[in-house]
Symmetry: C2
Subunit: 457 residues, 2 copies
Amino acid sequence: MFKVIDFIQTSRDRYLEELGRFLAIPSISALPQHAGDVRQCAGWLADEMRRIGLENVSVMETPGHPVVYGDWLHAEGAPTILFYGHYDVQPVDPVELWESPPFEATVRDGEIYARGAADDKGQVFMHLKAIEAWLSQEGRLPVNIRLLIEGEEEVGSAHLEEFVQTHRDLLQADVVVVSDSAMFDRGVPSICYSLRGLAYFQIDVRGTSTDLHSGSFGGAVVNPAMALVQILAQMKDRSGRVKIPGFYDDVRPLSDEERAAWRRLPFNEKQFQRSIGAPKLSGESGYTTLERLWARPTFEINGLLSGFTGEGAKTVIPATAMAKVSMRLVPDQDPDRIGDQFEAYVKKIAPKTVDVKVTRMHGGRPWITEYDNRFVQAAGRAIEQGFGKAPVYCREGGSIPVISTFQRELGLPAVLFGIGLPDENAHAPNERLDLGNFHNGIVASACLYDEIARAGR
Amino acid sequence: MFKVIDFIQTSRDRYLEELGRFLAIPSISALPQHAGDVRQCAGWLADEMRRIGLENVSVMETPGHPVVYGDWLHAEGAPTILFYGHYDVQPVDPVELWESPPFEATVRDGEIYARGAADDKGQVFMHLKAIEAWLSQEGRLPVNIRLLIEGEEEVGSAHLEEFVQTHRDLLQADVVVVSDSAMFDRGVPSICYSLRGLAYFQIDVRGTSTDLHSGSFGGAVVNPAMALVQILAQMKDRSGRVKIPGFYDDVRPLSDEERAAWRRLPFNEKQFQRSIGAPKLSGESGYTTLERLWARPTFEINGLLSGFTGEGAKTVIPATAMAKVSMRLVPDQDPDRIGDQFEAYVKKIAPKTVDVKVTRMHGGRPWITEYDNRFVQAAGRAIEQGFGKAPVYCREGGSIPVISTFQRELGLPAVLFGIGLPDENAHAPNERLDLGNFHNGIVASACLYDEIARAGR
C-alpha cells in the first residue's frame, strides 16, 4: 500500500499529460457529427484500460454509443465493486465564452480547464490511475472490480437500463461506486448517501371547444385557467406542506443524529439566498434549509401555459390550460403510489365544469444507502486518507437516474465517491477540475479498494 | 313618408347592384398593400354621398386612412343624429375557404356574400339608401344628420379619438347612431342599450434571478408559479363572486323589470352550452346566463406563462411567472378605481417571498343608454315598422370602443341600430348579410329619422 501511494505521489506530471489526451477527444454524445469522436474515445479508453492491466476489456455495442467494460476479478473472497462512470461530454456552446479551447486541456491556478474535466472524464481517470498504481506496484488489487463506462450519460443514459438488464451476470457485484458528483464544498470532502426521487405530471384542463371572446362569453362559462390555478393552489398549505392526502405516509423521518450532523455543516443560508437572487428563502415549517432540500419531499410547478401570452392585451377566455408539476420524493416514498394519490386528489378537487386530464410523465425512486452502511463508512475512511480530513455525510436534493437503475435492476448499495466541486461549471463554459482534489482523489480511490476489501463481502 | 317607403320597396334590385360596387373595393385597412384601395373606397363613398344629396361631403385626412364626412342640416328645430360606421374591412385569409370570391358580391339563398357585407359596408349602405329615399321623394330629411364613416375600425380605430377631439364642432349632435352590430337572433330584431367595459392587467411574479434545478433547490425557495396561482385562486370565491374588496361597490343593480324582460327572451341555455362545447355552464350564483353576460362584472384569466411548457418533462423551478387577467365592467364601475382596488388586493395577498408587479394594460368604461331613453324608444318603433315586430331590448357582454369614445368625448346618448346576424361571419370566410334584414333595415332607417324627429331635441 505504501508503494501504491508513493507511486501516485511521484506520477503527478504524467497523470496530467495522460488526462489531457483523454480530454482532447471531443466525445459530445448529443451531437450526431461527433458520433465518430465518441467511438474514438471509447477505443482510447479501452486501450488505456488494457494498458494498465484490466482484463476482458471490450467496447460493447448498444443501439446508441458504446459502453466500455473491463474487470479484474482475482481477489478471491473479497467483495466486488461495480464502478460506473461515463466518457461522453456535454456540448461546448457558447464556445466563445471559453477562456481556453474546450478540447485543449489547460492548467491555470491549480485547475485543469477542459470540457469533461470534472464531468466525468477526470473522475473516471482518477480510478484508472488508482488501479494502475495497485497493479503496477503490487501486481494485484485488494478487491474485485468491474468497470462500466458509458457513452450516453449526457443524453439521459438512453440505453443503460437495457444494457444492465441484458448483462446481469457481467455486472454481479457487492457494491456500486459512482464518481460523477461534487463534494459538499471546496475543502469539505463529503459522502452523499441519499438522493431524492421524482414524480412528474402534466395537468391539462379543458373548458370549451375553442377559445372564446371574454366579452361575449365572460361570466357564463368556466375559465379553465381559473380552474387550474384553483386546483394548484390547493396543493400546498400556508405552512408549505403538501396537501395531497397520504403524501407523507411513507416519508422516513430524519433521525436526531442526522439533524444534529447537518446543523454542524458549514452552510451559510444568507450566501445561499444571495446566490439564487431570492428576496427571501421559504419552505416547509419546522425544517432547516438543508433538511428541506435533502430529506423533505416537495411539490413544484415546473411550467404553466394558457391562452394569450404575447405582448399586449387579448381578451380571450382560453379553451385550455396546462401545468407541468413535479414532486421530489424522499425515502421511502414510491412514485407510483404518489401518482395514484395525486390523481385521486386532482379528481376530487377539480371543478365539474371542466375536463381535467392528468398524464404521468416520469418517475424515479428516491435512493438511500444508510450512512452507517459498511461500504459507505469504508468510503469515508478512504476519503479521510486521500484528503487528510474526515468527510461530511450529506444527502442531495436531486436525482441521479443511473443510481436508481442500479438499485432497481441489481439491488445493490451504492457509494457516491465524487470529488468535483459545486462551481466547476460541469455543463457550462470553462469547465474545470481542481488538481489538488484530482490527486487526492487518486489516493482516496486507491485507499477505497483497500477499505472495501476490509469491509468484507 | 309613404312615398319614401314605396320608393325603397321598388328599388330592391338597384340597391343590390349598387351595394355590389361598394363591396367590390378591397378596402382592407390592416394590409399596407391595400392602402390605395382604402383611399379609392373613401372616394367612391364620398361620390355616392354627394350623389344622394348630402352636403359638405369631404374625404378628411388622418395620420392613417381617411374619414369620410357628410351632412344634411336643414331640419330646423329637429334633433341632430351623428351616424357612425366604417368602410374598411377585415382581411380575407384563408381565402381558399371562401365559396365565392370575397370581393365579388354573390347572392345565394337570400343572402349576399362578400367581405364587408355585414361588417360594415352593408349597414352603412342601408342608411345611405334611406337618406336617398327621403331626399329624392320628399326633398328633405325629418332630422339633421352628420355621417362620420371611418376607414380604420378594423385596426382599432387608431386615429378616431384624435379626430373626434379636434372636430367637436363638426360633430355636434343630440344622439349617436351606430349600425355595426348584430341583432339578438335571426327573426329577433333588437336594440342593445348597454355594453360592458374592461380593465386589463398583467401580473409578473419573480422568485429568483434565474431558473433553478428543482432537485438542487426544490423545497427551500419559493416557486413564483405557485405564488401566482395562489394569488389568482383568491380572486374568486366558490359562488363565482370576485373577492377584490370594493369590486361590486359601483355595480348598478338590475331592475326587476329588466330581469323579467330578459327572462322572456328566446334564449336556449342548452343550445348555448353545446355551441361552445362546455361540459357545464357556470358563473356567479343567483344570476341567469344572460344576466351574467350582460349585467354582471367578471374576472378572467386571459393568459398564463411560466417555466417549461414544451413537450416532455423539465425539472425546473421557474424564475418568473406571468398572468394576463381582465375584468369586464358594468355600469357604474370605473376602470381606474377598479385598477386601484385590484393592485391593492394583489399587494395585500402576495407572499413576501416574491416580487410582484402589476401592469395596467388597457381600460374602457362600461356604456349604458337607459332603454327608456326617448331616442332608444324611437329606434325601437323604427325597428318595429321596418321588421314588422317590436324589437327586444338587450345588452351585450363585449365592448365597442368607439361607443366609449363618443360617450367620453361628446357626452351623447347612443343607439345601437344593428341589423347583422350573430352567425354572419363578420371576421371569417364567407361573410354574408341577410337580404331580408338589409331591406327591412333600409325601411327601418328611413323610419328612424322620422321617429327621432318626433322624439324631439
